[in-house]
Assembly symmetry: C2
Homo-oligomer: 379 residues x 2
Amino acid sequence: MNRRISKKIFIGDVPVGGDSPITVQSMTKTDTRDVKSTVKQIMDLVKSGCEIIRCAVPDMEAAKALKDIKKLSPIPIVADIHFHHELALESLKSGVDCLRLNPGNIRDRTKVAAVVKEAKIRQTPIRIGVNFGSLPPVGGIGVSKGISRHNDGVNLLSKGLSDNEYSVVDHMVQTGLWEIGILEDLDFDLIKISLKAFDIDTTVESYRKMAKLVPYPFHLGITESGTAKSGSIRSSIGLGILLYEGIGDTIRVSLSDEPTEEIYTGFEILKSLDIRKEGAVLVACPSCGRADVDVRKLANDVDDLLKKTKTSIKVAVMGCEVNGPGEAKDADVGIAAGVGRAIIFRKGQKSKIVPESDMLTELMNEISKVEQEKNLPTS
Amino acid sequence: MNRRISKKIFIGDVPVGGDSPITVQSMTKTDTRDVKSTVKQIMDLVKSGCEIIRCAVPDMEAAKALKDIKKLSPIPIVADIHFHHELALESLKSGVDCLRLNPGNIRDRTKVAAVVKEAKIRQTPIRIGVNFGSLPPVGGIGVSKGISRHNDGVNLLSKGLSDNEYSVVDHMVQTGLWEIGILEDLDFDLIKISLKAFDIDTTVESYRKMAKLVPYPFHLGITESGTAKSGSIRSSIGLGILLYEGIGDTIRVSLSDEPTEEIYTGFEILKSLDIRKEGAVLVACPSCGRADVDVRKLANDVDDLLKKTKTSIKVAVMGCEVNGPGEAKDADVGIAAGVGRAIIFRKGQKSKIVPESDMLTELMNEISKVEQEKNLPTS
């Protein structure tokens, strides 16, 4: 996979874009005005690995509350603003590390200029968040211009596309270019972009198209993707397709669930694609009519126990003594359960045989040993 | 998306390949010799939508049990055979609809010929299941031949690739071609292929490569992908990438969980990509500091209630009265919750306002109405 080359920006001290690690972020679901609850949720998220957090700013009180939240948060804060430029200005005063703001939503250009001026002084980036659900009408508010400094000449509407040829994807991209152009006209380029839709095809094609047009880093996401189960599947596919082709610099999985679930899913997506390697990867056979033990229970127990591991380690839980060690020969450590006993193996080689009753404990001991070995300083 | 054109075969009465719907399958986790438990699990799977089921055949008793299972199963049965040709012969006698069998594992070619002869008489297809974990050694057992009727001349080893250039992907594909060649030499072409690995990159690249070489339908899967949570994420990405580019004719999600979970995940993958449209798709906002109601609970309640729906319907659960209806304007029906009340909307247009206490009931009523309208015969 060749990663798309994007401009590197900093959200607080976290780099996004360029060769920076692809980061995982979320959004608090608390009332931002409630500093205590919001900070508590941020701390839970940090424990799950969250690297950047966004907070809704519905009013002045929320914008002011960000000052205290910012003081207590160990990770950078993004202020989520809709429409009102004074909320953006107040959030900047509160010291936020990034604004999520579509300049096109603020009709008065002098107000946009005021926000950009303050952002520039603080070197605070702005994420433009184009969402399928809130696109301006085609041809409205100036979207038909759709020109950024970087795409001069690719204006899709100016190419004389008919309504039929001008797709939702074109409109997503065109809206993004128009928003970018507003910031570029004010000589501001600390820009991050998202182009989210519920539909995977629309999302993927919009990012693919934009990837060829501008150098700014991408925040990936699928909007309103659903519950922890259905939403994580939809997000995994959409984000997975893009990340597999090297597109994307930071991700947020939107789920109707606890924000820590969003972080878990985000990291699982990155680990599945070998993009982030921190933590354990579990290989677990689905079990079949040949298995003698409850592989499901064993796998879930091991999964739970491995959640806090930061070491990059591949662990296998297999239900078959005969095929297990070979099938999981690339695992650092694994267990293959037979009748009343289990084989613990490393890289496909038998390490020891243990009774079934001790298999979880013995496996966890072996994992600790491998972790220690991996964490030894290399001389 | 242009779907790869593959040869259509039939697993019982279920078409696989060509322009057939992409089917979702699973594998029983019961002891196949236990007919009662196995049939009960199959019936549960059928209720979840399972379209083809595979059963492990570890011994003669299991092969014979398939006869009774076959009589009671409403969906086609695939017998999963490793090594022993007599188990394949007995499974065919039991009337199974497909064999999963790698002919290369049966060293004696007269034994392979005996199985193929019986499969041909019954027009029973054979799935060749290449797995990363059980690849033959490079250059061993004849894999270096790697020639199928369809790829004559693309033999990778014969091209003089060095060991460094000959990748795991090459070896996966080459092994598949070798297995295919054994069946083709016996003039048998009711073939289905899988090329599974735990690693997404290996899996995706193997299928992509094979897609250009042979016309047979593909069974997609990621092996030992993990628990219901991590495994569904890994499988969604791997299968999603391939399906999005038109590769794949039937899928199995391998999870260390109940097989019904595999079916749920399989259909969610297909629905996310608009490949299968039966049933409900839930749009649900992740909620934020602006929401006044518990969107998570409402979304999960709606999700549960919609599980049995066969009608293709898009339902939205939004936490914001102001932005909700517009953001989910492509949903057939939706709810946007405000303070103490909620708006029910259809295609973004307000339908009615209901008190918060009744919102779930009122939404479900509206969904029923939409379902009825959708299911009216078009005149």
